[in-house]
């Protein structure tokens, strides 16, 4: 053996180590799927917030906004984020207001409850899979370390059968053992970075949802007490 490449190291490692590295590779793949998917969802939610807020505050009639949403929903079934909250609240508000027996406070309460439910559902959608990223970020270094320990054990067991303890005998084993730690870190670092980033943007989006809910309920409140 006159040269050692990372791939060779992986191929020459023991079975336990290979299993560890394979699981790390799978973890890394899944976490990258989650990262990309969450990125798309978060971006869509953020752009949805800004575009809907623009339309909402443009002075458009609320019932017309609602009808527009219904049309989009019928066309391609994609109504997301803030608009869902608006639609849930507005729908409940209109439905309760048409029943004359219900008093104004009950109408407001019903609309707010509907918005809270929609908000919770939206928030749940946004933070789905994020715990998985957190788990990968904190666990995969340990998994890699476990693989390294296995590999170093293997190397030292091999050393015991040698008459002469030269560096050349242990070096490849230890190098391939360290490969496992490297892969653990490779899986963990992006996961941790993405988790932190996504929780931050999640906070931003949910706080804007809460703000919108408050503002919209104040608008509804004004409307119900004006006539």
């Amino acid at each position: 053996m006159n040269e050692i490449s990372p791939l060779q190291l992986i191929l020459e490692s023991s079975t336990g180590e290979k299993l560890v590295m394979l699981s790390l590779l799978v973890l890394s793949m899944i976490s990258w799927v989650v990262i990309v998917q969450r990125y798309l969802v978060m971006s869509a939610a953020k752009s949805g917030v800004s575009s809907f807020e623009e339309r909402f505050w443009s002075g458009m009639d609320l019932s017309q906004l609602y009808k527009e949403g219904t049309r989009i929903q019928q066309e391609d079934g994609q109504v997301v984020g803030m608009e869902t909250i608006f639609r849930a609240g507005f729908k409940e508000f209109m439905r309760l207001r048409q029943q004359s027996s219900v008093d104004k406070e009950a109408v407001m309460e019903g609309a707010q409850r509907a918005m809270r439910v929609a908000y919770a559902r939206e928030e749940e959608k946004l933070e789905r899979h994020l715990p998985f990223l957190a788990t990968v970020g904190s666990v995969s270094p340990y998994v890699g370390l476990f693989g390294t320990v296995l590999g170093i054990m293997e190397a030292f067991i091999g050393l015991a059968t040698q008459a002469q303890a030269t560096l050349q005998v242990v070096a490849p084993g230890i190098a391939s053992a360290l490969m496992a730690t490297a892969m653990g870190l490779f899986a963990a670092i992006p996961a941790v970075v993405a988790y932190n980033r996504f929780t931050a943007s999640l906070d931003g989006v949910t706080s804007s949802y809460i703000m919108f809910t408050d503002e919209f309920s104040s608008i509804l409140h004004r409307q119900i007490h004006s006539n």
């Binding site: 793949m29 799927v33 998917q37 969802v41 869509a44 989009i72 008459a163």
Partner: protein
């Protein structure tokens, strides 16, 4: 609402995410492969050193035997030369003495003739008496001559004896040389035996030698081992320390672990006695990377 993102997040964006993640990992693997092929281009020439050399030194029995034989041969040669020189000197001395004696006789004869002539001229009447005396003298001379001849005979005999002795000497020498040649042949056979046995011991010890981390190139420890004809190790002592206690200990342990050298049982006992009763091993690492 029909913006780019809405198109991307069909089925919550999962298809795209999977494609991106798989692509990323494939890219990473391709990078590794590229690194590997790059490595191959500038392949580092790792020097693979010879594992170990445990040398058998000075105490090497073969070398010692050869040296002793050589010394004996030189000594014999010198002795022979000495004898030859002595014999030559003796012969020269003899020849000188012979010549002196002959010269003396010659002188005596001349004086005698002179005296005869004078006697002839001066004393005619005493001639007869003289003649008588002359006869007596001649008689004596004859006796002397006989004596001399006997002496010469004796000398010749002595010379012949010396010659015979020289021939005998030569014959003996030839015999001795033949014996030496036979001994050399035997020594060569022995040499091969000894060499294979030493090689074996060296290899065994080498296999059992695990050097401590403190071992450095150029360290040198000499261990003297004593063995029984069965190949069992009697004891091993450090005759020359390397200066590093761990290194010395490792060398000593190697010897103890390599023992017994059961292959030594097959050696003829005289070969064993001459070569393997006691043996010195040099431990000298030469392949370390420091």
């Amino acid at each position: 609402m029909n913006n780019a993102f809405n198109n991307l997040i069909i089925f919550n964006g999962y298809p795209l995410a999977v494609v991106v993640a798989v692509g990323l990992h494939v890219l990473l693997l391709a990078g590794l492969l590229y690194l590997q092929s790059n490595n191959e281009v500038e392949a580092l020439e790792l020097v693979q050193p010879t594992v170990i050399t445990a040398l058998f030194i000075d105490e090497n029995p073969q070398v010692r035997n050869e040296r002793v034989i050589e010394r004996q041969r030189v000594q014999r040669q010198q002795e022979r030369e000495e004898q030859q020189r002595a014999a030559e000197a003796a012969a020269a001395q003899q020849a000188r003495e012979e010549a002196e004696r002959q010269a003396a006789e010659q002188r005596a004869r001349e004086q005698e003739a002179e005296r005869q002539r004078q006697a002839l001229v001066e004393r005619e009447e005493l001639e007869r008496q003289r003649a008588e005396q002359e006869r007596l003298r001649q008689e004596r001379e004859r006796q002397q001559e006989a004596e001399r001849q006997r002496q010469q005979e004796l000398d010749r005999e002595q010379a012949q004896a010396a010659e015979r002795q020289r021939q005998e000497e030569a014959a003996r020498r030839r015999e001795r040389e033949a014996a030496e040649a036979a001994a050399a042949q035997a020594a060569r056979n022995e040499f091969e035996l000894v060499q294979s046995a030493t090689g074996l011991i060296q290899q065994l010890v080498q296999e059992h030698w695990s050097r401590p981390p403190s071992a450095r190139n150029g360290m040198r420890a000499i261990i003297q081992i004593r063995m029984l004809p069965t190949g069992e190790l009697l004891d091993a002592t450090i005759t020359q320390s390397s200066g590093d206690a761990a290194f010395d200990r490792s060398a000593e342990n190697a010897v103890y672990r390599a023992a017994p050298f059961s292959e030594l049982q097959d050696l003829p006992i005289n070969v064993f006695n001459a070569n393997f009763r006691s043996l010195s091993l040099i431990f000298e690492p030469q392949d370390l990377l420091n």
